[in-house]
Symmetry: C2
Subunit: 220 residues, 2 copies
Amino acid sequence: MAGYVRDDISEDEHERQRGLYGPFTQAVRDLLDATIRTEVDDDEVRAVQAEVEALTERLRVRQLDGPYGVRFSASGRGRPWGNPVVGVRNAAAPPLEVERDPAGRAWASFHLGAAFEGPPGLVHGGVSAMILDQLLGEATGAGGKPGMTGTLTLRYRRGTPLGDLRVEAWIDRTEGIKTWARGHLLDAEGVTVEAEGLFILPRWARERRAEADTAPSYFE
Amino acid sequence: MAGYVRDDISEDEHERQRGLYGPFTQAVRDLLDATIRTEVDDDEVRAVQAEVEALTERLRVRQLDGPYGVRFSASGRGRPWGNPVVGVRNAAAPPLEVERDPAGRAWASFHLGAAFEGPPGLVHGGVSAMILDQLLGEATGAGGKPGMTGTLTLRYRRGTPLGDLRVEAWIDRTEGIKTWARGHLLDAEGVTVEAEGLFILPRWARERRAEADTAPSYFE
C-alpha cells in the first residue's frame, strides 16, 4: 500500500530530524493555544495574522504534495509524524509519547490544554475516543497483532478534566487476524473513559508480512 | 456549571468576532498544515520557529487564564469556539459548519487534510470517532434532547480517504433523560464509518433547564 514508505534513514538521521521538527512543531502548538486564548486587540490580531500568512508561504516554498504518510527506517522504526495523536510534526497532536510492552500493552502520560476542550473545562468526548483508538491500536501492534480498527466502543464514566492524564491499553484476546483490545483514560482520581475495540489485519498487510517485507507494526 | 458563560453579546458583536477570529484561525490552520508538509532546509525551519515564538508572545500579552469554555449570547446562540471539531478559534478543528433540523438531525460537509491522517492517505480512525461524537451530540441538541456522551460505538466499514467528506446524524429514540443517536461518515462512494451513541442530560443541566435559565443546547 502506498504511503508506508521505507526510506532507510539511519538512527542518527531519525534523531536529527526529531530534534529539528519536534521543537518547531511545539512552537506552532503553542501558537495554536494562544490563538484560542488571546485577548489582544483587533489590530494586533490582524497584524499577527499577516505575519503567520507570510511564514506559511516561506514553509510552502518546498513541501510534500500531499500528507506526510508513515515512513520507516531500515530498522523498522516508524515515523507516523503527521498523526493527530502521536505525530511529532502535527501541532494538533498533544503529542503522546507512547511506551510499549511486547506482551501487548501500551501506555502514555500526557497533558491536554485549551485545544482539546468540549464541555467547559473538560476534554471533548471525541478527543478521548481518538486517543483511546490510537492506544488500543498501539497495544495490538506492540503484541505483534496489529490491525486496523474494526469496531470501537467507548463508555464515558464521568467527565475528563483538562490537564494531566494517562491512558493505558492492552490486548484482551486474539483469534486469527482479529485482535480485541481494551483500555482506559485516567485522571488523578481514576478511570474516566473505558474502551474496547476489535482490530483486523488487512489483506495487503498479511501478504506483505508473508513476504517478510517491512509491514507496519500498527496502522495509526 | 462554570464555563457555560452567558455574556449577552449582540448578534452584531457575534458576527464581528467571527469575522475577526475566523480568518485569523484559518491562517494558523494553514501554518499547521505547512508545518507537517514543509521540506525547506533546517536553517529556514529554525528561522520560522523563532518568528512563530515571537508571534505567540505577542498574543499572550493579554489572554484568558484557561481554556475558552462555551459562551452564550442573550439569544442563546453559542460560541463553542475552542471546540476541536467546530471551534472557530481552534486551528486544530477542520472546522465543521454544522447544519441542524429541529426534528433532531445534524449534518456537515467538510474537508480533511494532512493534519487528520492515520494510515497513509486515510483519516485517522480516532478523528472519525471524534467527528461522529460531535455530530451525534449536535443531533440530540437540535432535537431538544441534549446530553453528554454516555456510550459511543463506531463500526469502521472501510478506510475513509482524506479529502471531501460528509457526516450525518439523527436521533434514533429517547427515553426520559436518555437519547440514542445514530450517524455515519461518508465519502463520495458512500458510508465509511457508522456510529451509535447514548447521550444523557446531566443533573446540573436538568436543574438549570427547570429554572428556565439558559442551558446549553449541546455539550461539546
